[in-house]
């Protein structure tokens, strides 16, 4: 039973990332979109937390959102996979349900 969790808030502004990560478990995935995409950049205050989360959940970032904000795949944490919108659709299809943490 797996859930695709979508986060769209900057972790520097809202606690959504934290609130989501502490309530998900094995088999669940997290997709970082919109303002949350910048969480996927390495060397931030959230790097450690995301690296730890990646041990039990698959983490993805929506590449166009990251690119729009001035970052590319080279800036990403190793544990985070970059997807485009088609990849986003594929994640929705391959998980049993979608939970948008608004």
């Amino acid at each position: 039973m797996s859930t695709l969790n979508i986060i769209n808030k900057s972790p520097f502004e809202k606690r959504t990332l934290d609130q989501c990560l502490k309530r998900i478990g094995a088999g669940d995935s997290v997709l970082l979109i919109e303002d949350a995409s910048i969480s996927a950049v390495s060397g931030t205050a959230f790097t450690e937390q995301l690296t730890a989360a990646a041990a039990q959940s698959k983490l993805y970032v929506l590449q166009p959102d990251l690119q729009a904000r001035g970052f590319n795949d080279a800036s990403l944490l190793d544990s985070i996979e970059s997807v485009d919108y088609e990849g986003f659709v594929n994640l929705v299809v391959t998980h049993e349900r979608v939970h948008s943490w608004l």
Partner: protein, 130 residues
């Protein structure tokens, strides 16, 4: 797969409507069916035909309307949310004695039941909001 989308924010203010649009077009491109896009909360503001964004900017409403026309995507605005925010079609104008309509082509106003129905009938429901 049969997908449905919920949009909870209006155009321009928040990226939600843009993200939803990109998601829907990618889903159609990859051979999935998008049975409905339901607009709720301020999301109903995507359905007014009276916006005039600057020419060098995207036209969010026209983009949605084109999607409805070209791919038969059902664009539904929540009636209760519309009444609160002044989104009006012919029926609503008559019912609530309004002197104008502003609904854009391809959109229709209906009840929240359409959201529940989308949740039941689609294989996945994806929400975009703030």
């Amino acid at each position: 797969m049969k997908l449905a989308v919920l949009v909870n924010e209006g155009p321009y203010q928040h990226q939600a409507s843009d993200s939803a649009y990109q998601f829907v077009t990618a889903a159609l491109r990859t051979g999935h069916e998008v049975m409905r896009v339901f607009f709720y909360h301020d999301g109903v503001n995507n359905g007014t035909r009276l916006t005039t964004p600057p020419q060098d900017d995207r036209h969010i409403q026209k983009r949605w309307s084109a999607l409805a026309q070209e791919h038969n995507v059902d664009l539904v605005l929540c009636v209760a949310a519309c009444q609160r925010r002044g989104l009006v079609d012919e029926g609503e104008a008559k019912r609530n004695s309004k002197d104008a309509t502003n609904i854009a082509p391809g959109f229709r106003i209906s009840g929240l039941g359409q959201l529940i129905e989308a949740g039941v009938e689609a294989d996945r429901l994806v929400t975009f909001g703030d």
